[in-house]
Structures are given as C-alpha cells and as structure tokens.
Symmetry: C2
Subunit: 286 residues, 2 copies
C-alpha cells in the first residue's frame, strides 16, 4: 500500500494511492497539535492496511535532508508547539517497515504539476504559491532542489515599484517578495483581502510586478521552462496573464524560455497538487 | 588520456590530466576566430595522444543540453563570428571515439572549487565570477544546475542602493546585478577600473551591497552552504568580508547557512579552476 500525507499549517491530508500520483482515497482534517494530528493520521492509515511507503509533504521550515541527524524535525516555526517536533518518529514507530520520503509541500506540488499538471512533461518547472506567505518548489534538470535546508523563495529581495511606498510586512526583511506580495501584504496594503479586490484594481498590477521580478530571479539561477503560480491569492482573475506580460517586458528578450507562451500558468491539480505530489515522492528513488 | 578545454572569451586553455582535476600539462593561448581556436587546440591534443574523454568549459550562451539538437553550439553572442558555431563538431571529427562533456565555464569552476577548492566537500556551492560581466555556476544537492538553457545570474533584478542614481550598463535590463556591479559597471560609474580603486573607496561598499542582494536570491532558490566569488573584480582587498558582512545584515538571521562563517570566500584554485573543473566533467557520469 502506497500512502501519503500533506501536512499544512491549517489542514492535513492523508491518502492512499499510487506512486504515479493516482489518488485512491483521501481524508482532510484541520491541523491541530502535533501529537493529535499525527495520531489522527496514523489511525486513518491503520484502518486502510499497512503502508509500505509514505511520501510526506510538509510545511516548513523542516529538516528534509536525509543525511541530517534531525531529519524529519520541524525547525523554528511561529506555529505553536511544532518547533522541534519530529514528523517522522511517530510514523516510523507505527509502521516500522515503511519507507518515508519527506519533502516540502511546495516541492511536492511542483513535482505533481510537472508530471501530470500544468507543466506536464517539463523537467524545469517552478511552482510558486501565494497565500499568507510566499513559497516556491523548484524542479531543475528533473530534480527537486533542496540545497542548504530548502529554498525560501519568498525572501528574495527585489526592486521597489517606483510609485510604491508600502513598507512591507516581512518581520525579517520588510520589503522582500513575501513582504510586498503575500496575502498578508495585500491585506495590510489595501486594507482588504485579495478576494475582495476586483480584477481591475491596481493591486493586481502591483502584484504582477513583484511576481515578475521574482520569476526573473528564478531565470537567473534555476531557469524554469514554465512557472506555475498557485495558492489563494493567485486565483484573482487575469493575474497569471498580467504577470507574464510584465515578465516579458522585464526580461527584454534575454531569456529564450520566456518566449514559449504560456509561460506563467495556474495549477491544474488545484488543492490536490500537494497530496498527489506526496504520493509521487514514493517513486523517486534515491 | 583524459583531456580538457576551457574556452573563454579572451583566452583558451587546453590540458591533459585526470578526472579528479589533476593537471598533467596545460597550454594557454588567446581565443581568436572559432576555426583557428579549435585548430590550435586540436593540434595540441594530437601531439599528446588520442584523448578518450574531454571536458569542455565554455563561455556562453552555449547549448549545453545533450538532448538538444544544437548541442555544442554557441548561441547569440556579441563576440564576432562565434554565434551559431559548433564547439563540438570539429573535436568529434578529430577524435571520433572521444566522449565529450560540455558545461558552462562558471559551472566547471564551481565544480572544481567545491571538490578541491575553497568549498571542498560541500554539496551546495555557488561560484560567482565578476569580470566584464557577472555569471554564476551553482552546485545544488551535489549537481550542477542547468535548467532551461543555463542560469544567467548576472541578470537578476535587485533593489537599488538608496544613495545610488547610477543607471546601470546592461543593454537588456539596465540596473540588473551585472548592470550595477560588473567590471564594466564599475568602470563607467567611477571612471576608473576596479584595480585603480583603493580598498577604502566607497565603490567597494556599493559592490558588496549589490553582491549581497544577489546572494540572497541564491539563498531563496538554490541555497548554497558557501559562496565563492572569483574573477578580476573580486581581487579587491576585503571585498569578500565586506560582502559577507552586508549579507548577514540583510539576511536578518533568516538563513541558517549564512551563520557558518566564512560564508563568502575567494577561490582557492585561481586561474586553474575552470580547466581543472573541465577535467572533472569527464568523471561526472550521466
């Protein structure tokens, strides 16, 4: 039995399925304390059988390096009680023979969109998610990037739009990408949440402007053939097209990949990207 | 016989050695027309024997994707006569049995510095070179990054230093990293070349400021455990320390890797990094 868990800041998804991403059955429930969340997950899996492999897609920061001593541990996070908690210990205890593959939630979603979603068949794909914060998963040369810990795309530093005097909301960097363009930034800047702002509101030109600058950083470091933007804020009508248009202008013809329109696209797998990507993790091998 | 060639915009290096980077013999000569440069290289190799493998480190843009139809071809470059020229054709014709591995010059240098140089033993390393332009090679999770074409790190877009009204020199993007901090930018901004500016000149604070912002983009996408900065401009006394100090301030404690000082370091292999990395390419496997 192939299993998967997507551990999010607000909701958790458990599923059984296949390593090609096929979902057989899933259950969603609110993320509570670490102990209760894992207990609910383990009880659900146990009722289904004994999983031989599990892919886990987790919110971060989390130690995903299998060579690290604290592999599987949540690192310093503002989410109460989760810092220092091992996601993998209780699961290994419940299913001692089970092979666990652990990834960031954004990398898992990136993998799913690259294999069976909006960037199907491509080996160089970035998946950006814009919710309360901003994160990205990156597939480069067919492999998910990790590096030291894992990418924290939201914290790249960008030029400031010329008419923009918003100070930004990132407690670490002020006006980094997350500080200027996350859901929290939109809410503070416009005193309204993204879903209350109509498609022709200037908020979306500003949003597209910062996103395009962030994507040019991706082009300079791990150049994607296509960029998928998901997450609540990305559902604003026309945001992907606006961002691509802005990017084409910025890029100045320099990056051949950007010419292959559509370059900036919405996800195809919706809220299932993370859990389907987590199932696929079980088939990645080393 | 293991061989290597480093094809640079102004000089070319040919060598024989071992795939661990050991140099047995090398020759340096000015890069001239494509045909003459390759002819000189092939004559030199022929006198040494018949190479069974060759690693090539080339200036770009160059098609390094082995699956591409135009693999081995120089792409649109301002260097006269090189656009569309195949680096690999003449070599394959001269040595039909020889296996060729082609990389960017910066990726080759990155590999050498990560294996036997200033970042020895690390699997996540960025090598930035600052000369006329700015480029970077990136080793992430032990593999050199390519993505769509290859990274063009010089063209990431950064905030502008508050007291800086220099318009930048990049013909495509104006004030991207290369536009603000390359050797050409320094020369235009200060009307002096980098080696004429004393270590306490404000030019170097400005330089460190832009470099630190570029490194934070690396941390957000393919986080290095250490950053090696080489190239002519990097030889300014104290630039690496200044850049690290600036980066620590910017990063605001957010990226654990940055705390492992020294984080920003000069190369150890000097002008041999590229050719020794090219030798190592022959041992990379698929």
């Amino acid at each position: 039995m192939i299993s998967a868990m997507e551990l999010g800041g607000t909701k958790t998804v458990v599923a059984i399925g296949e390593s090609d991403g096929t979902l057989i059955e899933e259950m969603r429930f609110p993320t509570s304390t670490p102990e209760d969340t894992l207990k609910t997950a383990i009880e659900w899996f146990s009722r289904k059988g004994t999983p031989e492999a599990m892919g886990i897609a987790a919110f971060g920061p989390v130690q995903i390096n299998p060579k690290a001593e604290n592999w599987g541990e949540m690192l310093a996070t503002p989410k109460p009680n989760w810092s220092g908690f091992s996601i993998t210990n209780a699961l290994s205890e419940a299913f001692p023979e089970m092979e666990i593959t652990l990834e960031t939630d954004v990398n898992a979603a990136c993998l799913a969109e690259a294999r069976i979603g909006a960037a199907e068949g491509l080996e160089n794909v970035a998946y950006i998610t814009i919710g309360t914060g901003i994160g990205a998963g990156v597939l480069c040369d067919g492999r998910l990037l990790h590096g030291a810990l894992h990418p924290e795309f939201g914290h790249v530093l960008l030029p400031r739009k010329s008419d923009d005097d918003f100070e930004g909301v990132c407690p670490f960097h002020g006006d980094c990408l997350e500080g200027m363009a996350s859901g929290s930034a939109i809410a503070k800047r416009w005193q309204k949440s993204g879903d209350e702002l109509p498609p022709d509101h200037p908020a979306w030109d500003t949003e597209a402007w910062y996103l395009a600058h962030g994507i040019q950083a991706l082009l300079g470091i791990a150049p994607p053939e296509r960029v998928v933007i998901g997450g609540g804020v990305s559902q604003a009508e026309g945001l992907h097209e606006k961002t691509e248009k802005q990017l084409i202008e910025l890029a100045g013809g320099y990056f051949p990949a950007v010419g292959n329109s559509p370059y900036v696209v919405p996800p195809k797998l919706g809220q299932d990207a993370g859990i389907r990507g987590a199932l696929m993790l079980t088939g990645l091998g080393c």
